[in-house]
Symmetry: C2
Subunit: 334 residues, 2 copies
């Protein structure tokens, strides 16, 4: 557990300023106070105040997603949630929820028995037992990347898929690309469906032709590139937007195996901006999901549900990160 | 301005309990404290604390919408925003923004000059001058019922149109209706488009036939019923979902003029649940927009933008309110 001095050293500010931030003194700026609190959570510092908290307990349940280290997708999501909850004096427990736990105990029972006022669920898939129970849960619940119909106790949080895909299409369009393919993630996922619709809408809005040969559902893994890239190339694609960064890494590898250069011969755009994206060769242009902000947003939504504001859907902006895997389309000479 | 005693009388609690609620004492429940604070705002009570607030100023701009009295659509939206802002020590100013004001001064300039940290805009239409400026505003801004592309400083809040329309279709489907018409609001409105898509999706999901003769865009006024109801009836409609309660009141009147009884011959569903809805003859079954909660949600979104969480879209649940304008479909005897 970090000390106040360690927090001060990390931020390059005085111990008394850290102390003011932790205690809510009014003579430091709101932004600095937030930075102090966020860093305190990240470094594992717990104030006396938070130790005394009673009946202010929230749970983060996580499944099918890595979150233990900063290079993993779930890390910043969980951290952002904890940071924002800490500012508002909530105690947060992060609990892995493998199928065994989910079948052993009902979701609502687990929360009530352990004194939680609400929960944030990350990484759950449709077939998970607790996902089924969310249709009727009476506990305030925020769910990452999935929407539960009809139950006012559950809110979906995620990234603005429309804005994200639109930014990718616009970026490629501005670079002169017309034949833009889309290798989506898994079929039957709400997120994939939204992105597919966004791709169609944005292509249309940019006056670009939509061809069934230029779209495919893969899975969220690098391997799906092997099957679909050759078909895209045959159909004349000069750019490929991918459902996530792993798929994009597979697309780049597949292009290279076929003797094509990225970005000179074909441009590639990812989705997520996982830490891997910047270190690919070439560094990947991608749509960033602001994971720390997603976690903070999830806290805000959960706090609202607890205060009887029936949030049902909250999305935050996606952001295009331009790196080296996209370039201007040059028509073939000859 | 109300006194503590008046608040106590209204809520039927002691003066000391009101005082505890206003001063954040820990020995009353969070829910009661919220009720005390909400009532204090509604009754125009300002604590000493809120009088001292500096540099914590938010604006609510309102245009094309009535909000002065509790029976008007905007009243509860503005009240909910003020209630939630008050709890968090923000000072709120409600400012009508007619075209003259909008052309006199730029939006950002107005906010900066008057010391506002952000604003909530209610009732603005696409042609409003300030709406155009929202594409590039640098001020944290929450917008009711409209979405601004690409600008991370602006967040849209509204009701879950998909869930609302789906609840209406499901309600009628459960009552045995198959030919369900939809008289939407104005064309070229984001809200209308979402509801139109929701209608198609929900009809399909319930296995009901979609016919172009059963859908039309009206305007958000009662008069549009005169043109479209006869066509719906000719196409065999037994139920009509309306884009708002005013349209529904027009539909009921038009049906009556044609000698049809609501709900015995035709069922009618509204949208909004304005105070008028309950006093129509018959009282209107409608999809309720939780306006107080929408205002509270708008505050939460604005506070998040101010804290650099790029909220872009937040919707709250709609709720079916069953009254007397819908009933079981009885096939004609012949």
């Amino acid at each position: 557990m970090a000390t106040i001095k360690e927090i001060a050293d990390r931020l390059g500010i005085s111990i008394s300023t850290v102390s003011k931030g932790l205690n809510g003194a009014s003579d430091i700026s709101e932004d600095l106070r937030q930075t102090v609190l966020d860093t305190a959570v990240e470094m594992g510092y717990a104030t006396k105040k938070s130790k005394k908290v009673e009946n202010r307990k929230l749970a983060v349940f996580i499944e099918n997603m890595e979150y233990g280290t900063p290079d993993q997708f779930g890390y910043d999501i969980v951290l952002g949630f904890r940071q924002n909850a800490f500012r508002h004096s909530w105690d947060v427990t992060v609990i892995p929820a493998p199928p065994a736990l989910q079948s052993e105990e009902k979701y609502d029972t687990y929360l009530l028995k352990n004194g939680f006022c609400g929960a944030f669920l990350v990484g759950f898939a449709l077939q998970d037992e607790w996902m089924r129970q969310l249709k009727t849960t009476t506990m305030p619940t925020v769910l990452f990347d999935n929407y539960i119909k009809k139950n006012p106790n559950v809110c979906y949080v995620g990234t603005d898929n429309y804005g994200g895909i639109d930014a990718a299409v616009e970026h490629l369009y501005t670079l002169g690309h017309k034949k833009i393919a889309f290798l989506n993630g898994s079929l039957h996922s709400m997120v994939s469906e939204e992105r597919q619709e966004a791709y169609y809408a944005s292509m249309k809005e940019h006056g670009l032709e939509i061809s069934e040969e230029l779209t495919a559902y893969g899975h969220y893994v690098a391997d799906s590139a092997r099957y679909h890239v050759p078909a895209f190339l045959n159909a004349g694609a000069t750019a490929i937007i991918c459902g996530n960064d792993l798929i994009a890494s597979g697309v780049i590898a597949e292009c290279r195996q076929r003797g094509l250069r990225v970005p000179e011969d074909i441009s590639v755009v990812g989705f997520d901006d996982i830490p891997l994206a910047a270190s690919l060769v070439p560094p990947l242009t991608t749509i960033r999901q602001e994971r720390n902000e997603l976690g903070k947003c999830a806290y805000v939504a959960l706090d609202s549900l607890i205060h009887h504001i029936p949030f049902c859907r909250t999305q935050i902006r996606a952001k295009l990160i331009e790196r080296k895997s996209t370039s201007r389309y040059e028509p073939p000479r000859g």
